[in-house]
Symmetry: C2
Subunit: 392 residues, 2 copies
Amino acid sequence: MEKKIKIVPGFSWFGKNIGIKDKTLDFGGVLSDVPCNAAAVFTRNTMPGAPIIVGKEHVENGKLQAIIVNSKNANVATELKGVEDSRQICQLVAESCGISVDLVLPSSTGVIGRYLPMAVIEAGCQNLQHEFGNTVKDAERFARSIMTTDTRPKWISAKVGDATIFGVAKGAGMVEPNMATMLSYFMTDADISSEKLQEILGRVVNQSYNRISIDTDTSTSDTVAILANGLAGEVDLDEFEKILLEISIYLAKEIARDGEGATKLIDLTVCGAQSQQQALLTAKSIVNSPLVKTAIYGADPNWGRFVMAIGKVFDYTVEIKDLKIFFGENREYYIDADVIDRDVVPLDEISSMLKNEYVFIEVVLGNGSYSERVWGCDLTEGYVKENAYYTT
Amino acid sequence: MEKKIKIVPGFSWFGKNIGIKDKTLDFGGVLSDVPCNAAAVFTRNTMPGAPIIVGKEHVENGKLQAIIVNSKNANVATELKGVEDSRQICQLVAESCGISVDLVLPSSTGVIGRYLPMAVIEAGCQNLQHEFGNTVKDAERFARSIMTTDTRPKWISAKVGDATIFGVAKGAGMVEPNMATMLSYFMTDADISSEKLQEILGRVVNQSYNRISIDTDTSTSDTVAILANGLAGEVDLDEFEKILLEISIYLAKEIARDGEGATKLIDLTVCGAQSQQQALLTAKSIVNSPLVKTAIYGADPNWGRFVMAIGKVFDYTVEIKDLKIFFGENREYYIDADVIDRDVVPLDEISSMLKNEYVFIEVVLGNGSYSERVWGCDLTEGYVKENAYYTT
């Protein structure tokens, strides 16, 4: 991963305002010079948006050449009309860019239950081929155009051999992943088959986007896609997967850190579990507990709330005497529930540590050999305000 | 159910301050003139508090004569010392009142992970027999002494034939029941065997306390107990169960309405489900969704969030065309996702309705014959404040 963003040869981007709701960027796209091998993972929500239905069809043969995204309206719960609208957008993009319609992956994000303003979008699709540019600036405008309540764009690039991977994501709310939960796209010039891409993407998503949670809610629009144009030739696949995982975790953490109203990123490891499932369920139970999240917001070293959250994973028993809770990136301070003299617990030190923007916590359940790492954020008045007064 | 509280002959109460944390009422008890048939249901949290461990032993033979409760400290995650402390309290109560120690049900509620201040509690148990009184005022002091972040006492009484049932509860936070999640006690002078009491209590709790949720967190201290002294003779058991359910639902709703920071009670029915489980999972998914809860707080008719919450019950599929969402106690307004003309949706009327303190919502999933009713509350800045800055 490098600080300086490198774009991928053979791809171009745009992001612009077409007036779907207000004056902010609300329409963006990615176009490859050539058809790409492609793979995608979609939301598990059983009420998926229309673009999910269309997108699944289009990626089925493992080929994509363009991505088109609108924010401010999710095109969800819009039934057949919504699906027709999504197909129509793909058709307009395909015509403008001179490519086949089934090479276009559509996404929409925003409010649920409203029809897309198709007249506005149709006007926005006029001469779209001239909107695309291949500079970092163009890619940034795309990253900004897909934002909803995100406070900043999320993007990253990395080299794998001679190839480059560029990744972009948006998150903010309705983020408890069960399959990727938000929009995220990767472009690379590595030459990889679509079958391999799908395998790699599935594993990577499971270890990155499926390990974050903002509010336990699962969006109806979540999509992660990867497009490989092959221009840089073949790469070492293990290396590619390792780097893709690294940048996916980076983007996933960026999403968690920028959760609606969030002031802190929670980086939580649960280890010593008897099974992978116990580790994951316990980690999710802790990182999703409103009482843990508010305690971390308030820098309150209320470790009893961790005990409660561990204990509400009903299928597994943890002995309180085996439980230890470490705080700090280097496990600087810890709570040992087995220590009778509770006065030695370094509550003040832990409270100071909880005031940081990055909060590292490691929970040791016992002597088991399984562990999981997840990321989340604190629960603040900001989350409530943003979602109570968010006008539909 | 009657507005005027009637206490039950043969029981006496006390509630007082002994200085566990501050000057508010923090210690209370109930004493029966004679040993009672009794039954109880406890938390499913796998890290139960010490009083739960002791309480289960004491109620095992179906007999109880006294309940002793302290607030401000939950005596949880305190291991063997916590259990010894809880036994010691029962012993002191038993000696003061001249009853057998295994007739005492102990409860503690408050912060997790601290030892009880036993010197303070031992002093508070001196001559306890003189503290009990049999007036409504005494019962009210008991109801107040078990409160933590509750803003008001919760109590109710009802007649069943010649007998009376008196019920009292506390809730406020850490309330997602899986088994009763909070403290609640019933006293009656009906003559019912402990086996029957246990059967009835199990069914009643499942339909009342297990149908409320404040924040998805499950307390380590939850206890519901019923004591029947038999003084009023036998009653019709079906009638008894019906009335007990009625007052349990009343208390459960009072707990939901008085959830930490809550401004509204959400009364949600999900019907038209294909199975009982689908109805319950969907109802819980909606009533626990932070995005639904904040929308209701803000009176935002953002029905798309209901669609999202229904869709994250991954095991069942709902057709959006079958979905209807009614608002109001008499289903005054509704959203029909199948109506293409979204302009006819009465959003302003629904928003007005969501401004009420009681919010009635009915979600029709389809043509199935199963339904469930649950109760919850909105999510507000008050919840965050109360739990972020709550000093341990």
